[in-house]
Structures are given as C-alpha cells and as structure tokens.
C-alpha cells in the first residue's frame, strides 16, 4: 500500500507515474466522493500511458475508449447504472477481461464479478485543494 498527498496538479503527474511503475494488474478501481477527483486522476493516468486524447467524464457515456502509446484503454463509470444486470448488458465483462487497462469509477456495483487481480485507488478530500490518494 502506498499513500500520496497531492496539493497541485503538477504533483498528480508524478503520482500517476509512480502508480503506473508499481502496476501489477490492468484493473484500477477508483473510489472517492463526488468532486474528489476520480476523473482528474484517471485523466492523468491515461495521459501517462501515452494518450493525447481529450479525456472527459464517462458518467454519461459509461465507457470511453482511448488509445495509448501501446494499447487501448477504457475509462468506465458505473455511476448511472442501478443493477449489475445493466452492467452485464453493456458487456462489462468483455472490457474487464480484455487485457487492456481499465479505470473504473463507482466500481462497487459490479463487485461480485470483479477479478481479484486489481488495484484500488481511494481519493480522500483533505483540504479544499489537497487530496490523499491511497494505492493498493
């Protein structure tokens, strides 16, 4: 487990790099309150993986796809879904087992079908502009 304190956007880039250097799995589960910065962290991780795309919130679209320097990756948000069946209907398992990196916001809806091999990223609001990121 690693803990990072982020106060500036510049810190975020180096935190993303450290997270990706320590990466063992392709699934990243992001947890934190609304406005904590889950999308901001995903944006930074996706950029670190070599994507030059404009990374926007996947809340409405549910799954956004990006191309990094080597592979595709998926930015997923289950916020708008109510049941695990809805997630299965959109083919969530295909994404989870694609072998590509997946950054998943609000992942608890699909807890029963999540592979054990994943990383957790928890974001806590410390201060108005300060965040604690816990990485396992």
């Amino acid at each position: 487990m690693k803990e990072f304190i982020v106060a500036e956007n510049e810190d975020l880039q180096s935190v993303s790099q450290q997270i990706l250097e320590a990466k063992k799995h392709t699934l990243f589960l992001l947890r934190g309150d609304l406005g904590a910065g889950k999308t901001t962290l995903s944006k930074s991780l996706i950029a670190c993986l070599g994507s030059t795309d404009n990374v926007t919130s996947p809340t409405f679209s549910i799954i956004n796809e990006y191309t990094g320097s080597e592979h595709k990756m998926y930015h997923i948000d289950l916020y708008r879904l109510n049941t695990i069946e809805e997630a299965l209907d959109i083919g969530i398992e295909d994404y989870l087992h694609s072998g590509n990196n997946c950054f998943i916001e609000w992942p608890d809806l699909i807890k029963p079908i999540l592979p054990n091999e994943h990383h957790n990223l928890e974001i806590h609001i410390l201060d108005d502009n300060k965040r604690k990121i816990i990485f396992e």
Binding site: D33, L34, G35, G37, T39, T40, K43, D53, N54, T56, S57, T59, F60, S61, I62, I63, N64, E65, Y66, R80, L81, N82, E86, D89, I90, G91, D128
Partner: protein, 334 residues
C-alpha cells in the same frame, strides 16, 4: 422529382429510436424508452433499459406505421455509427446493415454529434450557413462552426464534465433525484442567484465544469457545518445560483465564439437546451448583440432518430453512402 423515403435508426446510448423522413420532412419519430416511461407515470428511470435488441423491431414497425408507408417504400437507411456505447451502437448498426442488404437499398452512416446540430433542419426556420451551434447534453458540451451540412469544425469543447452532468451532479450533492437538471430548473425559477461559485479560468473556447462541481461541494459542506438545514431552507436560491453559474459559463463562451468568428446566427442543441434559463439568456443575448437565435423543438433536442434521418437525407442528396464493412465506433472523428 423522385420522392426520397428514408428510415433512420439511433441507438448510441440509452434510447432506441426510429424515424421516417420523406423528402427531408419528419413523418414519424419513435423512441422506445419515452413510450415505455409513459406507462410509469412519466418517471424516467435513469440509464433506461439497455434492451435495444428487444426494442428495435417494435420501434421500427411503429415508425413505419405512423408514417403511413410500407416497408417496401423505403429507399435508404440512415444509422448512427458513433460516438456512443459499443454494445448499444452495434444493435442499431447491425439492424441497418441487414435491412439495407435485404432490401437492396443504400446504407448511410451518421455521426451522432453532427446529427444533433442538423436537427435544426427538421423544421423551419433553418439557420443559414455559416452558423454556430452550442451542443449541450448530459455527455457533451461543444461549440461548433457549421459551414455546410457536411462541413463542420469544433471550436471548443469540455475538457472534463459536460454541462448536463454539472446539473445532475450538483443536484445529487443537494440530495435531489437524478437526473436533476429539470428539477433544478424548476426550483431555480423561485430563487435568486445570491451565491457565487468558482469560475473556470480557461482562455480559449473550451469548457470545464469539474472545478464548479468541486466548488459547489465545498460550499455545501461549509454551510451545512453552520446550519444542518441549510439546503432545505435555501434550496431555491442554491438551485438558481448553480443554474446561473452553468448558463453564464456557456453564454460567455458562445459570445466569445461569436465575437471571434463574426458569425451572428447562433443555435443551441442537445438535451440541456430544454433549460429555461439557457433559452431565455440566448434570446436576451440575441436582442442585445443582434444575433439570430435558433432552438429546436424539444423532441429533436434529446437523442432521437429524426435528427439521424435529417442528416442521412443530406448525405443521400450528396450520394455519400457507406459500405457493409463499417463497424460501430465508440469514438468517431468529427
């Protein structure tokens, strides 16, 4: 002149929709979830059923029937190729390919975001070229310059959240039901914009709403510390303040785009164009700065097949057809 009868299919996200367009005029426009919702007293279940496979045949049949034509009269089929959710797009596109093959008619792929703009050509008055369009919905916020039906350029877009999402998530933090946009609109009408939130500092024509969301979060947290009943007591003023902030951000950028391009025909599109304050502000700016403004009917603002059909109609006139090899695209170049 030969009559053009088009069937159009849209299934990029939550709704399955089909429309019949005859010579550029919408003859029917059927959306599955809306009809289903009516049975539930008008309550729109979030992320409505993803059962595009179940909906598509009944929706197409209803569109054909309501237009008073028969299946064999259809001369081309237009379909959303992207952007959207792959699992949803694939249903509409597979159906359209099959239908085109079976009836030996042309297949026409349509870009969902361009179609939102071309929805302005569903009913007169049509905006003249060039015009600017602010497309605002739950998933998108962009300003586009339109030189022609087939020639458009994105001048600015959101770098994080969409405007519709800013409404919905602010509402969620206040404990309002999701989607909160229409509820905020209603409550705001009884309130005053007495609270200020952080304004994004972005120099170009791009948008950012993520900072506003966080700023509202801190605002609510700080006030709730002093008075646990703050939201309850101040609901209307908070809603009015949130709505004013979001609409001000949108209007400031469209004004900047109008100034920079010298274009004075300004349109809005997408689900958020139903917001009453955005509509009244657009009209007010229009009067103040001498713009001609265009707002489509609400049924053409949300995701619908009529806009796909209108787009396909102009591609048909240009003989811009697609082949059977096209695949759905979650991301699609504008």
């Amino acid at each position: 002149m030969k009559t053009n009868i088009l069937l159009a299919i849209e299934s990029s996200c939550d709704d399955t929709s089909a429309a019949i367009i005859i010579d550029g005029v919408v003859k029917s426009n059927i959306t599955a979830t809306q009809d289903v919702h009516k049975a539930y007293g008008g309550v729109i279940p979030e992320a409505a059923s993803r059962n595009h496979e179940i909906n598509i045949i009944p929706v197409v049949s209803k569109a054909i029937k309501e237009a008073g034509i028969s299946k064999n009269d259809i001369q081309a089929i237009g379909v959303t190729r992207g952007p959207g959710l792959l699992g949803s797009l694939i249903v509409g596109l597979s159906f359209a390919k099959g239908f085109a093959l079976a009836n030996n008619i042309p297949l026409i792929e349509v870009h969902h975001m361009k179609a939102h703009i071309l929805a302005h050509f569903a009913e007169k008055p049509y905006p003249p070229f060039p015009f600017l369009c602010l497309t605002v919905s739950g998933g998108h916020t962009q300003i586009v310059k339109i030189d022609d039906y087939h020639d458009m350029e994105i001048l600015g877009q959101t770098i994080d959240d969409a405007a519709g999402e800013a409404f919905d998530k602010s509402g969620k933090m206040m404990g309002l039901d999701y989607p909160a946009g229409p509820i905020i609109d209603k409550l705001a009408q009884k309130g005053k914009p007495i609270y200020q939130f952080g304004i994004p500092k972005i120099a170009n024509l791009d948008f950012s709403f993520s900072g506003l969301k966080t700023s509202i979060r801190y605002f609510l947290r700080d006030h709730l510390k002093e008075d646990p009943k703050f939201i309850e007591k101040e609901k209307e003023n908070i809603c009015c303040s949130i709505q004013t902030s979001i609409v001000n951000i949108l209007m400031a950028k469209i004004k900047k785009a109008a100034d920079e391009t010298g274009i004075s025909h300004i349109a809005i599109a997408g689900g958020v164009s139903a917001n009453s304050f955005l509509r009244s502000e657009l009209k007010r700016y229009g009067t103040e700065y001498g713009w001609n403004t265009y707002i489509p009917k609400f049924e053409y603002c949300t995701d619908n097949a009529a806009m796909i059909g209108i787009s396909a109609y102009y591609k048909l006139l240009a003989k811009d057809f697609s082949n059977q090899e096209i695949t759905p695209a979650a991301r699609l170049e504008f």
